[in-house]
Every structure is written in C-alpha cells, then in structure tokens.
Symmetry: C2
Subunit: 193 residues, 2 copies
DNA sequence: TTCGTTCCATGACAGCTGTCATAATATGAC
DNA sequence: GTCATATTATGACAGCTGTCATGGAACGAA
C-alpha cells in the first residue's frame, strides 16, 4: 500500500469497502471519506463514474492476489502444490482471525453484485485469470504437467473462494481448514517425478 | 414452485432477484412487481421489513438446495460421491446454458452483500448447513465414514460455490466442469468397502 | 345487519444514490 | 510576472431507497 496520490487511495478504499459491503452498498461518498480524498476529485480522476472506479478496484484486487502467490512461494521451503494451497488458505484464516469476518474477496463481491454492467463482470474475469496464472506457473515449476496445472489452479481458486464464502457466513475458519486438509494430498498427487 | 398466495410469491421472487442482482440492488418495489403482488401487502406479511423478506428468501434457497440433493440421488443408478457431485455441477451448467450467467446462488449473494445485518448472515449460515446435511447423509449411505462425510460435503459445497462464481465472471462452464472432473476421483476415494 | 379481522391501496416521508455544472484554487511552464 | 493546466470545492439535480400512516375494501362470524 504505497498510498501515494488521492487517486490511488480512492481505488484502494473502493476495494476495501466493496469487499466488506458489496458494490451497490458502497457509495461514492463513502469511498471519498474512507480515502480521505477530496470529493471533487472523483469526477476528475474517474470520468467513467462509479463503474470505472469499481473496475479499477477489481483490477487492483486481481493484481494484488497474483503478487501474493509469489510471496507465498518465496516463504515456502520445498514447495509443493498442497503447501502452496495451504499458504493461500492460511492467509485468509489469519486475516479472519485478525480483523473479523466482515471483509471478504472484492472480486467475489463484484461478480455477485454487479451483474448489470458488463465491463465490471469482464474485470472480474480478468482478475480471476490474473490470479490463476501465477498459480499455474508455480505448479509447473513444481513438476505438475502443464495441461493439468491450469485445471489444478482453477480447482484451488474455486475451493478457496467457496470456503471464504462459507467461512464468512459461519464466522468460522472451519470450511477453510477443511478444504486445505482434504485437497492437499490430491494436489500433491499431481506432481510427476 | 407452487406459487400459492402472494406471500410465497414474494419470497420466491426475492430469491430470484437476489441471486441475479444481489441484496442491496434488489428493491422492494422490484420484488412486488416481479411477484405481481400488491404493494400494500409487503408491510402486512413482512412486518420485519426487507430484512425479514431477505432472510426468508435465503431460508427458502437453503431448503430448496437440500431437497435437490435427494432428487439427484433418486436419479442416480449406483450412486458414488463423485457422481453426486457431478450431478450437482451439471445442474448448474445446464442452468447456465439454458438461462444465461446472470443468475447465481442467492445464498452467496446474501453472504457477500449483506454484511450489515447479523440475522441475514445467520440465515446464510443456516442455509449452508441445511444444504450440507443431506449431502453428508448421502455420503454415509455410500460408505463414507461419518467423520469424513461432513468434511467431504464442505469441500463439495465450497468447490461448487467457487466454481459458480468463476463461471459467472467468465461466462463459461469451464470452472464447473473442471472441478467436477478433478474432484470426482478424490471423492470416490473416500468410500471404504 | 354489525362487527372484527385480514388483506390491500395510496401517498407521503426523509435519506441516500450517482451525476453534473459551475467556480475557485493550486501548480508549474515560460 | 502570465497563462494554461491540473486539481479541488460546492451545491444542486432527479431518481430511487425502505418505511410508515391513513384509509378502504373483502369476508366470514355473530
């Protein structure tokens, strides 16, 4: 979070509020207040209105999730697919334990909430793709066949997103720890040596 | 959908609109119009306001998803965990192919969108539990150990919900078919004979 | 009938939404 | 200095939100 100009702060704040309240429930005035930015700057930096701001927030979230994958890999000695997935899951259980279950995934929120605008839906698809790519690349580096790697990455993201959903509803990390435990052996089995 | 009185029609319409637009974006006037119900009845049948209506819609969705499990089992000759999961997934790929990707899971929408009211979040948790229970029961009937059955059911619901999310964003059944294919052998492996 | 209850109709309320027009101010190039 | 550009300020706009108060029908029981 560099937090340089007001523009970047607004995109970041939008992502924060969207992942908590959803797209529709997040007002532009809320974003401005959360970013401590001047209200007049909104129309200036985002001539495309709320739609543009939301799309950039979703883009940012996808980029952020992708970057996190490389950080997980750097923190893993003897990385395996199951251990990477466990790290992805642990990041969420830690976050839930630290700040509560009010904040989820902004991309999920954008997908579920803004079915109206096609560009936001496309931004969500791009975010999922941006997230999946480094995962698949990492799996290949661990010895997973290229064709299997994309499927495995899709499975990992799907299970994680669904478990985040259930964990938020139940206000418990149970679903997250469960999918990590059950999926670990399967994922490690994809490695050919 | 029996569609008896206006009250039931409103709950059903609320679920339909929520799973398409999200909770906040669904207005009570929209629900009334969709249900072709008198507007004056809203305050009469739902003195708890929008919150009550949303909660009942989420309850209904959980009940509906649970009942579908038994229907899947009835349609399966030689049921296995993987085949049950495949049937759950196919129900969604069929639905997406038939009516498009604008309608998702109402429980997911309620979880992501309505972080404000605690009762709606509790209703979503109850819906997930109501959905998971018949799955776990069915798995036990197939020979999955009782302790493993709940974990497996959680994994199935998580992967399905996440794949629904991705499929909606990508407007493609890819994620759904992928998780069904990858998870099938793992799920069948839970059976002890 | 007369009453009481259930259901529906209508309109108004304050509050919020995103958007935009207008203008003031800062910033920096020359 | 002068001027153009980038940024911010302010206020208003129509439209929608959920809620509620008031009143009117329908309808069965007594």
């Amino acid at each position: 979070m560099t937090e340089r100009g007001p523009r970047e702060r607004m995109v970041f704040s939008a992502a924060q509020l969207i992942r908590r309240d959803g797209v529709t429930a997040t007002g532009l005035r809320d974003v401005v207040a959360h970013a401590d930015a001047p209200r007049g700057s909104l129309a200036h930096y985002f001539p495309g209105g709320k739609e543009q701001l939301v799309n950039e927030a979703v883009d940012w979230a996808g980029w952020y999730a992708a970057n996190r994958i490389d950080r997980f890999l750097a923190g893993l000695a003897r990385a395996t697919p199951g251990r990477l997935f466990a790290a992805m899951v642990r990041q969420w259980t830690d976050e839930f334990a630290a700040i509560g279950y009010d904040q989820g995934c902004p991309v999920a929120a954008a997908t579920v909430d803004a079915s109206v605008t096609a560009s936001t839906r496309a931004a969500a698809a791009a975010a999922f793709a941006a997230w999946r790519a480094p995962i698949a690349r990492a799996l290949v580096g661990m010895g997973v066949p290229a064709r299997k790697a994309t499927s495995a990455a899709t499975l990992m993201v799907s299970a994680l997103e669904g478990a985040i959903l259930i964990a938020r509803a139940e206000r418990s990390p149970r679903a997250l720890t469960t999918v990590a435990r059950e999926l670990g052996p399967l994922l490690d089995g994809y490695v050919i040596r």
